[in-house]
């Protein structure tokens, strides 16, 4: 297993470099605008453009730029390690902004993940157990709603109902946990629930379907025949087998979200990676955009690895050389 993990970590590094290369090609070789021009004001002179290209590193061949980018990423730059350069728009280090925002995105993503697990799995189990009853239909109706309702609409509705009309929830924005834990929680609840609803719905349906299928297996009948309680049969035997796809999905979903829950962050004005990448893409701020791409790629790759490891734990038939 150790060798497997090491091998996978090396693959993670390679995958991140490949993704960054692709992103580099897209943003640097095929940009919609000249990055220097975008920050040169309304009447750019050749001198200003020359200066900006030089300061932005755009005056070098593409492969040199990419090589320097990877080098700075690996060994750091004047702003620290890893090195992401500076933002074209703010002329401030991308690194410090990325890490501050990553923490916010982590809080949002993981909090939502807890909520959707706590909602989706029990609903899926209940729905499977109470198949074809009112409970099942209600649960699947909820799932249909969760899957269908656009996140931005949900967010705006939540804000309208709970903040604007009822005044029982905090509005948009983010307050650091260290500043006031209760206010932090108050600001996080709605974004967590809004983000979680879509995933909870998926997971409910998935758990329901998997559990129904698993509960029809021979070994479940054997377990019942042995006199085990129904609860034990479901939890110890049924769930364990039916949750392995959930683990896979969970890892991928969390990994993707860690790259920035763009819509939720925008609606709730959260200073996470999602809002950062939107701002930077619209403004043509390439270092900032690439920074988020790197973090996102890393998050998905690492989560994939974690999923595979957990999978091996859950399913004894899976062994990695």
């Amino acid at each position: 297993m150790t060798r497997y993990i090491i091998r996978r970590l090396l693959w993670v590094g390679l995958v991140v470099v490949l993704i960054v290369f692709l992103a580099y090609v897209i943003f640097f070789l095929m940009p919609p605008v000249d990055p220097a021009r975008a920050f040169a004001g309304k009447r750019p002179t050749p001198e200003v453009l020359e200066t900006l290209r030089e300061q932005f590193g755009l005056d070098r061949p593409f492969y040199v730029q990419f090589g320097l980018f990877v080098k700075r990423l690996v060994i750091g730059d004047e702003y620290g390690w890893p090195g992401f350069g500076f933002s074209y728009a703010t002329r401030s280090p991308v690194r410090e902004e990325l890490f501050q925002r990553a923490l916010v995105t982590i809080q949002l993503s993981l909090g939502a993940a807890v909520v959707w697990l706590l909602m989706g799995i029990p609903i899926g189990i209940l729905s499977a157990i109470k198949r074809r009853t009112f409970v099942d239909r209600f649960a699947m109706g909820f799932a249909l709603f969760g899957v269908s309702a656009p996140v931005f609409w949900l967010g705006l509705m939540f804000l309208y109902i709970f903040w604007q009309k009822l005044g029982i929830a905090a509005g948009t924005g983010y307050v650091p946990f260290g500043e006031n834990p209760l206010t932090w929680l108050n600001h996080m609840i709605m974004p967590w629930v809004v983000l979680a609803l879509l995933f909870a719905a998926f997971y409910a349906r998935m758990v329901r379907g998997n559990l129904i299928e698993t509960m029809g297996e021979d070994y479940i009948r054997t377990a019942r025949a042995k006199g085990l309680s129904e609860r034990r049969v479901i939890v110890r035997h049924g769930l364990r087998a039916s949750l392995t796809p959930v683990v896979t999905m969970f890892g991928l979903d969390v990994g993707t979200l860690l790259g920035g829950a763009i819509i939720t962050e925008t609606v709730f004005n959260m200073p996470g990676l999602g809002t950062y990448v939107v701002r930077s893409v619209f403004q043509g701020d390439l270092p900032a955009t690439l920074g988020v791409v790197v973090l996102g790629a890393l998050a998905v790759s690492v989560m994939n690895l974690i999923v595979d490891i957990v999978y091996a734990y859950l399913d004894p038939r899976v062994r990695y050389a």
């Binding site: 920050f39 703010t90 923490l103 909090g111 500043e179 004005n269």
Partner: protein, 611 residues
């Protein structure tokens, strides 16, 4: 177990989180302890140069600089209307002494104008000179150094550090006197001395920052307010300096009173200094911004209110509307068929449904119909006074347009509809956002009715600008563009938009997108890669030079109005369709609303909130 592990990880992340900012909802108006706070939010801090006054060229920050943070030699009253375009001495004790030949401007500085913390010393003439040295240092990337290069003797943008640059045309014989020697008479020179980049800068701080935009998080005040936390900036050495805490470029800007400011050195007409603190925060949810304004949690926003908020507030005191001197226009490339024919250009002016475009943009709240180039606020005539292509209700007139088109070489049968192949598949450049997405069908229909089959290409705003501004693209017509002044003088419109000197090669550089004044020789000399018909393109350089040489009391405004007429009737590069207005939604806490006509933004210098 997964949920528990996830929850623990999340708590760890939260505990490790720094102050992520992002706005926890600050109440507008009065803050704790009787402090008057003006609270604003905006969707994004749009910056070109990191808030560094030497290179930043975004109008909102220009307002912030000249209203509250910096004191250039000259400044405006920061009020609405014509009075907002008048210029007054600010750092200067009086208007400059101008030599008889107009080549020497002598300014005397006021006593007692102080830099704020941590510098906390009197501003000297050397600090003003240093601001120009920074502009001349190419690595600072000053975005409007061209207003001074070639104007002030010896000011040349060069690859040297600021303090190593000697500008022969700037003399500082003592701490209170600064003398500018000009290369040629420049009647609007006093206006150029009101630009934020000319405000004094302390070299002991700014010289630590050699590249463009770096000084933006360390800006030292020379005015009545400062960035909050400035007193904590350690200027012992370059290495000890850390960004001022009150400015986080992606999140928040807090501005508080400068304790070193002496009101006796100032003019209440320029600054009322009513407010104790300004807080601007980023809020990515525009609807939320204005919901908070309505709820009183914010005071206002520089962003455009969404339509539903405008509808509810229109006609009330909560929606002040001010004209800004911005023109939106459709630019026709004089070298590209069919727009190389003046009759086609006139026909387009007669067919465009300007009223339809205005309604698509939001109606009278967002602006007024433009009938020529120079906005009325800059001395141009009103639509009632001058409309060379008048049509009933500004809706366009097919008969008039056809009558014009029939005179064109592209209408072979004289029926008023273009029948030449040059009128087929004409690329119309536009934007992919509102209101242009509403304009485009209107324009296609208008042009189609006179035989011009437009193929609209919608691009993101910046991309559209760069595409049409790149001469080698040879775009025939673009509907994406607008233009605003840099100071209240028509030269800032006409020079960049219509002189041949403004036509430059390179991606996104050229603002004279109609190519007025182009010749085949210029095309070769500047390697513009233009195709099309370059012969006989009208030129207005002589008229521009004539007007530019006149002083305000010598008929300058009248001369530029004549140039406007010349352009509209004998050159016809544009279809002007809207002069802009700004509508700001404000909360009930704002007790005094003022608008800075020069900056085209709200006036922090004079606004007040409930105490």
């Amino acid at each position: 177990m997964i949920a528990l592990l996830t929850a623990l990880t999340m708590v760890a992340a939260a505990c490790g989180g720094d102050d992520g900012g992002g706005g926890g909802g600050q109440d507008g108006g009065q803050d704790g302890g009787g402090e008057k706070t003006l609270s604003l939010a905006m969707e994004s801090f749009v910056q070109n140069c990191g808030f560094d006054p030497t290179c930043e060229f975004v109008s909102y920050w220009s307002m912030v600089y000249t209203n509250v943070l910096l004191r250039p030699l000259m400044n405006y009253a920061h009020v609405a209307g014509d009075a907002g375009g008048e210029i007054y001495p600010d750092l200067a004790a009086d208007y400059p002494e101008v030599s008889a030949d107009g080549l020497t401007y002598t300014f005397t500085l006021k006593d007692g104008v102080m830099f704020g913390p941590p510098v906390s010393r009197e501003v000297t003439s050397q600090d003003v000179a240093y601001a120009f040295q920074r502009m001349a240092s190419q690595s600072q990337g000053a975005q409007y150094a061209f207003y001074y290069e070639g104007v002030i003797d010896g000011l040349e943008v060069q690859k040297e550090d600021a303090l190593d640059i000697d500008i022969s045309g700037i003399e500082t014989p003592d701490d209170k006197t600064i003398i500018f020697h000009l290369a040629e008479p420049t009647p609007d020179f006093a206006f150029r001395m009101a630009m934020p980049a000319t405000a004094p800068i302390p070299s002991e701080v700014a010289d630590c920052f050699k590249e463009s935009g770096e000084y933006g998080r360390y800006v030292v005040s020379s005015s009545s307010y400062m960035i909050e936390g400035s007193e904590d900036l350690d200027i012992t050495s370059c290495d000890t300096m850390q960004p001022i805490s009150g400015f986080e470029p992606e999140r928040t800007l807090s501005i508080v009173r400068n304790p070193d400011y002496d009101p006796a050195t100032d003019d209440p007409a320029l600054r009322s200094n009513n407010i104790d603190k300004f807080v601007v925060e980023v809020n990515t949810n525009v609807d939320d911004i204005f919901n908070k304004v309505v709820a009183g949690e914010l005071d206002t926003s520089p962003d455009d209110p969404p339509a539903e908020f405008l509808r509810e507030a229109v006609g009330t005191d909560r929606l002040p509307i001010n004209a800004v001197d911005v023109l939106w226009y459709i630019a026709m490339n004089l070298t590209q068929p069919p727009f190389d024919d003046i009759h086609v250009r006139k026909a387009v002016n007669l067919i465009v449904d300007k009223d339809g475009l205005l309604r698509a943009a939001g109606g009278e709240t967002v602006g007024g119909i433009a009938t020529h180039i120079l906005p009325p606020g800059m001395g141009g005539p009103t639509p009632e006074e001058y409309d060379p292509y008048a049509t009933p209700d500004f809706a366009g007139d097919l008969e008039l347009a056809k009558a014009e088109m029939a005179q064109s070489k592209y209408d072979s049968d004289g029926d008023g509809v273009c029948d030449a192949p040059e009128c087929k598949d004409v690329l119309l450049l536009s934007r992919n956002e509102a209101p242009w997405t509403e304009y485009n069908p209107i324009l296609e229909d208008n042009l189609g009715s006179i035989g011009i089959e437009a193929q609209t290409r919608e691009l993101e705003g910046g991309v559209a600008y760069e595409t049409m501004s790149t001469t080698s693209n040879n775009i025939p017509i673009g509907a994406h563009a607008g233009w605003g002044k840099d100071w209240p003088d028509a030269a800032t419109f006409f020079e960049a938009l219509f002189t041949s000197a403004a036509i430059q090669p390179g991606p996104g550089v050229n603002n004279n997108t109609s190519l007025v004044g182009i010749t085949p020789e210029l095309n070769d000399e500047r390697e513009l890669e233009l195709t099309g018909n370059l012969e006989g393109v009208p030129n207005v350089d002589a008229k521009f030079d004539e007007c530019g040489a006149l002083g305000l009391d010598e008929g300058r405004v009248e001369c530029f109005n004549e140039l406007d007429v010349e352009l509209m009737e004998n050159v016809v590069p544009y279809v002007p369709y809207r002069w802009d207005q700004e509508a700001h939604l404000i909360s009930d806490d704002i007790t005094v609303w003022e608008f800075d006509q020069n900056a085209g933004e709200m006036s922090w210098a004079h606004m007040d909130v409930a105490g």
